[in-house]
């Protein structure tokens, strides 16, 4: 359900000129909400900024100093003037800030902070490290921390289209930020704490995953690929990446000590933390 807000799409006209660039293609269920609130803000601040600049230009022209022209002696401290500026300040607050705030709170309640629950939700654990993305899927038992967990190659994330995806993120070393430009979302990954994010893709394809928080010299190359595919393709991919044989190692939060050469233990991860 893409509800593009027509009223404020005059901006698209501006983009067609050479300077203006549109945001990357939105392929998410709720990205339009962010675009809409941005476009509404564009719209209202253009009006207010336009008024300020028009007044400034007019005053500069009309009240420029010329011979014989004397300024009016007015301190603007009458009750009337104070009511006027106060009233206009309040008007700006009510027409701009309150509207934006209402929209944003509604969107948070309906979408971004309204984590989906249920059988069809795909859950994934993400653990970035300097400078790569690690992903972990629960195996057929739908539990994290068991031997059938699926860990695909680094920087490769696959999700099915039109299915809610809930991820939990924690960093292995420094702070990173999981950023999906085509889905209008990002979430910091901090060592020692688990953060969560959810989204739903509406279109198949391969999209960029970027790190948005400075994490070191190769921060700019910390790039992953999000492949959105049909449910069958996704199941197929999961099967291909399933661990071949189970090992008898005990599960432990943050894994065991068998480190590979990147320092990340083979069995990194944590038991899924249920959100309130």
């Amino acid at each position: 359900m893409h509800k593009k807000n027509k009223l404020y799409n005059w901006r698209a006209l501006l983009y067609s000129t050479i300077w203006f660039k549109d945001a990357p293609e939105d392929v998410s269920l709720d990205g339009y909400r962010i675009d809409n609130v941005i476009h509404y803000t564009d719209f209202v601040i253009s009006i207010y900024f336009g008024i300020v600049i028009a007044a400034l230009a007019y005053f500069i022209y009309r009240y420029r100093s010329t011979r014989g022209h004397k300024a009016v002696y007015d301190h603007g401290d009458s009750k009337h003037s104070v009511m006027f500026t106060g009233g206009l300040g309040l008007m700006v607050f009510l027409s701009v800030d309150v509207v934006i705030e209402k929209k944003a709170f509604q969107d948070l309640k309906d979408a971004f902070w309204n984590f989906p629950k249920g059988e069809n939700v795909i859950r994934i654990e993400i653990m970035p490290q300097q400078f790569a993305w690690n992903f972990r899927y629960p195996g057929p038992d739908r539990e994290f921390g068991t031997d059938d967990d699926i860990i695909p190659a680094q920087n490769q994330m696959h999700i099915p289209v039109n299915t809610p995806i809930v991820v939990q993120i924690a960093s292995w070393d420094v702070i990173h930020s999981f950023y999906l430009p085509n889905f209008r979302i990002k979430q910091d990954a901090t060592p020692g704490m688990i953060t969560a994010l959810w989204w739903q893709a509406t279109k198949t394809g391969v999209f960029d995953i970027a790190c948005a928080e400075l994490c070191g010299n190769s921060h700019y190359k910390m790039k992953g690929y999000l492949t959105v595919e049909t449910d069958e393709e996704f199941r197929q991919w999961l099967t291909e990446n399933s661990p071949e044989e189970s090992t008898d190692d005990e599960w432990d939060d943050w894994g065991d000590d068998d480190e590979d050469d990147t320092g990340v233990p083979e069995k990194w991860g944590w038991t899924w933390k249920e959100l309130k």
């Binding site: 300077w19 660039k21 945001a23 990357p24 962010i34 609130v37 941005i38 601040i45 207010y48 600049i53 007044a55 400034l56 005053f59 500069i60 009240y63 420029r64 100093s65 022209h69 300024a71 009016v72 002696y73 007015d74 301190h75 603007g76 401290d77 006027f84 500026t85 106060g86 300040g89 700006v92 607050f93 800030d97 309150v98 934006i100 705030e101 929209k103 709170f105 948070l108 971004f112 292995w172 070393d173 420094v174 702070i175 930020s177 430009p181 209008r184 979302i185 990002k186 901090t190 060592p191 020692g192 704490m193 970027a210 948005a212 928080e213 400075l214 070191g216 010299n217 700019y220 190359k221």
Partner: protein, 570 residues
């Protein structure tokens, strides 16, 4: 009041306790770092427009010979880290607060000097020591700090992967710089509270003084917070504590990386207002002087500035929406942030109303003051996107944020500083900066900086994230390459216009004729004495009878202004 003691060269120019000389020392320090930080900005722009191409000679290409003539990723990270650090703490702060706070406060309130002249001197010398410590980090084989000006741990800790001592020296330099700032803040507050001339009530102070006063209060309250955070960071970096370490990098009980972010932004958001409040004050005064009209709604402007200073302490969380903070906190911070638009709108209206029915003179200080209406208007309004939790999920850590804070900090604060330099230059050096060059400087800066910073915001909207060495790594950023190149070209032109400004300063001091005592016909106390202003400022304690903006009063016949110390009833 006149000081009669003999002055040697050392006591007059080096270890001076005269606030006017210390102001000049801060000004040269600030200007040096302004051009230093500006040169780094040019290199950053070079890399973003022409990634991994040989740096030309006119951008100091010889510095990069060891890396094959190109900027390497670690050098790039050092460039933007030091650009941010230097511009905020070593360019704007000394220039605006150190130089003009020092110069203007005693003169405008009718005081012989700062309350603590020796503390004032120590403040400068501590700042100079901080500068030397900071610059010494460039001599390290591994280079200077590269963890961003925010220096978030664990990245900025030794375990975070940044080699060498650069990050530690950065922390040390900032602690020293904070010490200098605290000395200044205590001094400014005491001076304003204790040393106002008889008759100079709080609501007769020029709005510039209100700006410096509020800034000093915020500095006195919040610099200790960041200093505490930085000392903890320094301990993490040197003796192996783990206040801010967690995950793999913590060897024992985990610390909390988020704690540093909270401490940083509890200071960091007021810091924005620390830098902008003096600008608001100066702009309010200058609009009045050059419109020959009293500042409209003086009390409302002053109270609005106080309100914003208070609100600025409650909004730091809007820098941290994407850290996974609780929804309740996110909403509260958004609401508190948006509240700031009420007082902001009020003093904005007062600025416009000051021009309304005025008699506007377009001297360079006025051009820069009116320029602030434009650039701060845009900078303030675009803050709405970042204050909005949902929009910020997308725009956080993108070039949009970079464009936004360059409008508020770089553009607005620089314009305010330039306006101050053009306006008070006759008081500092007895000469007027060349007005034609000043106008060219204004228009050149105004046009190019809008091009640069506005298009940064457009880049951010197009998804371009911050602090990336080579944007061409990402497919979704390749269509933006042309735009990055245009921004860079305009940034270079912007830089050239600043060289013109530097030329104007040097040429004026060297060649120009002395100016009149009060060339702008301003009503405040700093214009009442002859140049050079002696140590001790006022021959007699001035008595204050009027507010700071008595322009075009119909009862005064032969001129259109009335000095604050003139005993004439109106």
């Amino acid at each position: 009041m006149m000081s009669t003691h003999q002055e040697t060269f050392i006591s007059k120019y080096v270890f001076s306790t005269d606030h006017k000389m210390i102001a000049k020392q801060f000004m040269w320090l600030g200007l040096f770092f302004l051009f230093f930080g500006g040169a780094m900005a040019m290199l950053i722009r070079w890399q973003l427009a022409y990634p991994e191409q040989t740096v030309p000679w006119w951008l100091f290409g010889f510095l990069f010979e060891n890396d094959g003539g190109i900027i390497s990723p670690d050098i790039y990270n050092q460039l933007f880290t030091m650009h941010g650090t230097i511009m905020i703490f070593w360019a704007i702060t000394p220039l605006l607060i150190g130089a003009f706070g020092n110069f203007v406060i005693p003169l405008q309130i009718g005081a012989p000097d700062m309350a603590f002249p020796k503390l004032n001197m120590f403040s400068f010398w501590t700042m100079l020591l901080a500068s030397i410590v900071l610059l010494s980090s460039y001599c390290l084989p591994t280079g200077t700090a590269s963890g961003g000006w925010t220096s978030y741990p664990p990245l900025s800790s030794p375990a975070g992967g940044i080699p060498g001592l650069g990050q530690t020296i950065w922390t040390l330099a900032l602690i020293l710089m904070g010490t200098a700032t605290m000395m200044g803040a205590i001094n400014y507050i005491t001076t304003v509270v204790r040393l106002r001339a008889p008759g100079m009530g709080y609501f007769k102070m020029p709005l510039s003084i209100w700006g410096f006063f509020l800034t000093s209060i915020l500095n006195a309250v919040f610099v200790p917070v960041i200093a505490a955070g930085l000392i903890m960071l320094l301990l993490d970096q040197t003796i192996g504590t783990e206040f801010f370490l967690a995950g793999r990098l913590a060897s024992g009980e985990p610390g909390d990386p988020l704690l540093f972010q909270h401490v940083f932004w509890i200071f960091g958001h007021p810091e924005v207002y620390i830098l902008i409040l003096p600008v608001w004050g100066i702009v309010s005064d200058l609009l009045s002087v050059f419109s020959r009209k009293p500042a409209y709604g003086y009390r409302v402007t002053a109270i609005a500035m106080c309100t914003i200073a208070a609100l600025s302490t409650l909004v730091w969380g809007h820098h941290m929406y994407t850290t996974g903070m609780s929804p309740l906190l996110g909403k509260s911070f958004m609401f508190l942030t948006l509240l700031i638009s009420i007082p902001s709108a009020m003093f904005f209206l007062n600025w416009l109303a000051t021009l309304w029915k005025g008699s506007i003179h377009f001297d360079p200080p006025m051009l820069f003051a009116m320029g602030v209406i434009w650039v701060f208007g845009l900078g303030g309004l675009t803050g709405l996107y970042n204050a909005t939790v949902t929009a910020d999920i997308y725009l956080h850590d993108t070039m949009f944020v970079v464009g936004h804070f360059h409008y508020t900090l770089a553009a607005s604060v620089m314009f305010g500083s330039f306006a101050a330099i053009y306006f008070w230059f006759p008081r500092m050096f007895g000469k007027i900066l060349h007005p034609k060059l000043g106008k060219i400087h204004f228009w050149g800066t105004f046009i190019t900086l809008n091009f640069v910073f506005f298009n940064m915001m457009v880049l951010g909207y197009a998804g371009h994230h911050r602090r990336i060495y080579n944007p061409l790594e990402y497919d979704f950023l390749t269509p933006l390459a042309g735009m990055n190149e245009w921004i860079t070209i305009f940034a270079f032109i912007l830089g050239d216009f600043q060289l013109l400004f530097l030329f104007n300063i040097i040429w004026t001091i060297w060649k120009s004729k002395p100016s009149k005592k009060n060339p702008w016909q301003a009503a405040t106390l700093e214009w009442t004495m002859d140049y050079p202003i002696p140590h001790g400022n006022f021959e007699e304690v001035p008595l204050v009878y009027h507010g700071p903006h008595e322009y075009s009063c119909p009862n005064i016949k032969d001129r259109d202004w009335l000095g604050q110390n003139e005993q004439i009833t109106i």
